[in-house]
Amino acid sequence: MLSLITFTPLLGAVAVLCLPKTYERSIKVVSLLASVSSLLLALCVWSRFDPSAGLMFEERIPWITALNVDYRLGVDGLSVAMVLLTAIIMPLALLAHWKHDRNVKLFFLLFLLLQTGMFGVFTALNFFHWFIFWELGLIPMYFLIKIWGAEDRTYAAFKFFLYTLAGSVTMLLAFAFIYLATNSFDFIDLRQKAASGELTAAIGRLATSLHMNPTVFGSLLFWGAFLGFAIKVPIWPFHTWLPDAHTQAPTGGSMVLAAILLKMGVYGFLRIILPIFPDQVQAHVNILLLLALASIIFGAFAALAQTDFKRLVAYSSVNHMGYAMLGIFATVAAAPNVADVVNEKAAALNGAILQMFNHGISSAALFFLVGVIYERTHTRKLEDYGGLRIILPVYTGILGISMFSSLGLPGLNGFVGEFLIFKGSFPIVTLVTALATIGLVVTALFLLNMIQKVCFGPLNERWSGLRDMTGREIFIGAVLMLFMFWIGIYPAPFLNASNTAALHLVHLFQKVPETMMALGH
């Protein structure tokens, strides 16, 4: 099942490859079909997913026995929402480029490859092919930016590629050492080894044989893996590739980049960093919390200073991913004085997972809307707009709802995730969370600034002939808004899906809750 989901886009890509270059219409239809069929399969997985069952839809085939590598796929509460998100966003991104007419074949081919890579990252349970998929997500994106980007595309594409690759390299090194120590690439296996202390012992042996201090060596491995994900998320100060890449990428590219590629980083923290490096992450949690806080506040302030519509939205991603990271790191932090610590941490972690999904929806919507207006006006400068609500009422409505979803207005999806993150983090890391609320105000400030400059005030006469959104564009907006309202009003299905996995992770860091509670009260 999961293999089918993962490789359906690849099949589509092969089909597209076989089509002649001039059959643009059929290329588009075939790509969309491939991507929609994986959406249907993903919906099937989502509906049959049983939160309490742990790992589901598992596939395990021995692959390279000499290296002890199995081809292993599976979803649990951490990844099932991400699979769904990928499956939702991709057809929409393709639809957003339905009118695309420059080198259609390659464009759609790259998108389908990208989709396979992303599905692979969210389903793979073995570092070996997980890493292949991870890099597979990188290369098509590079070409999408490099070939179809805006004016500074070369700089942005190089920055994106090299930066991300640098992180991947350190991560690969870390895993090479872990493999040396344990002879295993399997996430689940490593997680069990980490929980039983076997991993620490193995790393210690390896460190001794390399004449290094085991603690330092473990930390080095942790920072290596951390860097790979931190760049992808991105956590301040590793974030500067993101505004450039987002601003220069074509609309669909930005949508996918913001909605899914960033989530690969956060997902990496959930799937790899927390389970495999529990001691290290606990040892460095204070630094990590400060970095998350910096992402929230600096990201928001930097967004406030932007004059470019798309760049502003890009910076809001830094800010929003900061909230997710805050929730994740709060799960790790020690909280000896909090009574109901398991539930607080579960709230923070569930909130972070939901925030990933929420941000995927709302940032995709915002980037899509930026694309819609850019297609019509060929400018991204905020000062160039003004008063568009007069002629584009539907556009303004959808932009407003997406913006408020991103801002965390109750009734829309953003609120639930942020509330849970803050609710869970506040008792554990009170001061950091309290400071992070500054970010909430500044987020509101820059988003309202944005819509004021774009839609309100007197109409800029340059644009008096603009058309409002077409049916296709409204459809894309409507699908995304459906999720905004759904999660905002009834988030229970999403939280139920992630809860078991989240609790499982929380228990890694809260091994003796009963005795703690007995001592405390």
């Binding site: 302030f301 930097a302 406030l304 200073a305 607080e344 509101a444 400030l445 309202l448 005030g457 939280l495």
Partner: protein, 700 residues
């Protein structure tokens, strides 16, 4: 009873459904749109009245009902090993507030059909208005701080949308943002309060049947140590109060409310006078057990002084405004300050009672000002009005009733509620009471000024637009002068005389006037005890009656009116360009007040300046420091690659290889000389070699 509380969710549902339908309606469907919204609000109104009547027996230990409140909680979602509940409540506080909200909303909706009749976005207006009604009612009926907060944010959203209803005006676009951001600053305090309460009590439901609700744990929270020298209950209360300060426009977060007058006047009446701005006061009242849980906390004193200061501060500003709506806006700030002061003085009854009476008469005044604005063809500058008593008699009489109610003249509603607040404050702090009384005097004065400027004297409008600045204004810096409301971009010539307004606009005025006249009697001690007190909080101690306070309050009210007549009534303005009489006697003071004590300017140079600087700073940090490091790394990498290219590959490897090749070639060239091609040479060498070998053989 319990089935009634289970139907509480229906109250906000009808307006919400109406809003949903509105959002899909086409622009020309005006009649349909208005019918749906007013009908939905009417149904909600009936439901709230039913609930209100059901609560009349509450809390008195009567024979039928021995309950204080009924509640109904349900699970929203679960996480970890626990779950988050939302819920509805029905108790006197909720029922009274909900009935007021639904009732006032209903009549304001009716008025709005007239006020907005020429606007092209009529359906959109009613969509937002209905959404507001739904959120506000949801706020009132929720038994859960989170649900309350969600509705709280939604009313903020509606306020944002409606302030910016004429979004094409830059001032409206700025005002909507200012309102949202300023209240959001307060909301951060509220949000932190919620988080702290959730952490400490483990629930956000205010009451539960098992007695584990957040407010039912107030006693326990009061014994824990909080921050800033407060108990935990006090800390939470303090944080929540910051939220109330933002929403209820208390100093220093009051700046958004006057600017919010950019919205259409029914919006000002509904949101920025009667209901939403009172939500802060309502929330404090709802969370009152936390505020009063620990008597050593300074929270209540803080609340009282914030209210007291706001009451006086805003009243002074209202004295020097020319915009008819801005006077009322500052008056609203001031009256909200009164309510907060009453709550801070320890009297929930006084604060909530003033909230209810104020909602009626302030909505009346705003609707009246809306009628005036429509009647004078979108003129808001009071200097360009005058004499409207003759042109608009119905509006005039209703407005007069509202004014007298606001001035606290018996037997109008405001007198009773204001008197209760002053009485409660008198026993708590004489200084605050003194300032409150002074604010009552100012209130009477500026309302009288308004009445005389608008309704008496000659009609000063209808003249061609003149230069709006008087010479005085030029001498003392620019005065803040109002602009007319733009209406769908139409340009109005102020050529024709004012006219009376249609029935759908004056009928709400008449209804609200009736309440402004008679509602106060609910709170009078003369009709067998204070009915409202018995209804809302029978356990609260009744402050001892004081004739001194009572008569002084009436006295300052009358004094203010007389003074107003002396300044503005005796010798009315003849010309729109004339200077304000007050400005002639105290020009500096008048300018300062007209510019609102320069608070906006102060914020401009401090907070806004800092925020902008911070934004620029962080952008530069990104651009120069972070990207700079990145580029430095890139340059270093590039430099290293060049080093390896030239120093490593080119020099050592390629250079070494080339050099050896060259030396071989050179050697070949040298040695090739040996090969002369002459056979004899080879032979000679051969012989020589042979000879040498022979010599070696023989001699070695």
């Amino acid at each position: 009873m319990s089935e009634l509380v289970r139907q509480q969710w229906l109250i906000p549902l009808f307006p919400l459904a109406a809003a949903a339908i509105q959002s899909l309606l086409k622009r020309p469907a005006r009649k349909l749109s208005a019918t749906i919204c007013i009908g939905a609000m009417g149904i909600s109104c009936v439901l709230t009245l039913r609930a209100l009547f059901a609560t009349f027996g509450f809390g008195r230990g009567g024979e039928h009902y021995e309950v204080e409140r009924v509640i109904w909680n349900f699970t929203w979602f679960s996480f970890g090993n626990t779950s988050l509940s939302l819920g509805f409540i029905l108790d006197p506080l909720t029922a009274g507030m909900a009935a007021m909200v639904a009732f006032v909303s209903f009549w304001i909706f009716v008025n709005a059909t007239g006020y907005m009749s020429s606007d092209e976005n009529f359906t959109r207006f009613f969509c937002f208005l209905s959404l507001f009604g739904a959120s506000m009612l949801g706020l009132v009926v929720s038994n859960n701080l989170l649900l309350l907060f969600m509705c709280w944010e939604l009313v903020g959203l509606c306020s944002y949308l409606l302030i910016g209803f004429w979004y094409f005006k830059p001032s409206a676009a700025a005002a909507m943002k200012k309102a949202f951001i300023t209240t959001r600053v307060g909301d951060i305090g509220f949000f932190l309060g919620i988080l702290l309460l959730y952490w400490q009590s483990g629930t956000l439901s205010l009451y539960t049947p098992e007695g584990t609700g957040a407010l039912q744990q107030a006693g326990k929270l009061a014994t824990l140590t909080g921050w800033w020298g407060l108990s935990m209950a006090g800390t939470i209360a303090f944080l929540l109060f910051i939220g109330a300060m933002g929403k209820s426009a208390q100093f220093p977060l009051h700046v958004w409310l006057p600017d919010a007058m950019e919205g259409p006047t029914p919006v000002s009446a509904l949101i920025h006078a009667a209901t939403m701005v009172a939500a802060g006061v309502f929330m404090v009242g709802r969370m009152y057990p936390l505020f009063t849980a620990q008597s050593h906390d300074w929270v209540m004193t803080f609340v009282m002084w914030i209210g007291c200061f706001t009451a006086v501060f805003s009243a002074t500003i209202a004295v020097a405004q020319f915009d008819i709506k801005r006077v009322l806006a500052y008056s609203t700030c001031s009256q909200l300050g009164y309510m907060v002061m009453g709550l801070g003085a320890g009297s929930l009854v006084a604060g909530q009672f003033h909230l209810l009476t104020h909602a009626f008469f302030k909505a009346l005044l705003f609707l009246g000002s809306g009628c005036v604005i429509i009647g004078t063809h979108h003129e808001q500058d009071m200097r360009k009005m005058g004499g409207l008593r003759k042109y608009m008699p119905i509006t005039f009489w209703c407005y007069l009733i509202g004014t007298l109610a606001l001035c606290g003249i018996p037997p109008f509603a405001g007198f009773f509620s204001k008197d209760e607040i002053l009485l409660a404050t008198y026993y708590r702090s004489p200084w605050a009471w003194g300032l409150g009384t002074f604010a009552a005097f100012l209130t009477a004065f500026y309302m009288t000024r308004q009445i005389f400027l608008v309704f008496f004297g000659p009609w000063r409008g209808g003249r061609p637009e003149a230069h709006p600045h008087s010479q005085l204004a030029e001498a003392h810096g620019e005065l803040d002068v109002p602009h007319g409301e733009a209406h769908g971009g139409e340009v109005h010539l102020h050529a024709h005389a004012p006219h009376e307004i249609p029935w759908n606009m004056w009928l709400p005025l008449v209804v609200l006037s009736a309440f402004a006249l008679f509602m106060g009697w609910l709170g009078t001690p003369w009709l067998g005890g204070n009915l409202f007190h018995h209804y809302l909080a029978p356990e609260e101690a009744v402050p001892q009656h004081s004739d001194f306070v009572l008569w002084l309050s009436i006295g300052v009210g009358l004094f203010g009116i007389v003074l107003g007549w002396l300044v503005y009534g005796r010798k009315p303005l003849q010309n729109a360009l004339d200077d304000d009489p007050l400005a002639l006697t105290t020009p500096v003071m008048f300018t300062v007040l007209n510019r609102k004590w320069y608070i906006d300017e102060l914020y401009e140079v401090t907070i806004i300046h800092f925020t902008t600087a911070g934004a620029t700073f962080f952008r530069l940090v990104d651009k120069l420091l972070v990207d700079g490091c990145l580029h430095a790394i890139a340059w270093i990498a590039w430099g290293l690659s060049q080093l390896f290219r030239w120093g490593g590959d080119e020099l050592v490897i390629n250079g070494g290889f080339d050099a050896s090749c060259e030396s071989v070639r050179l050697g070949g060239k040298v040695l090739a000389k040996l090969q002369s091609g002459r056979v004899q040479d080879y032979f000679r060498v051969l012989s020589l070699g042979f000879a040498i070998l022979l010599l070696i053989y023989f001699f070695a």
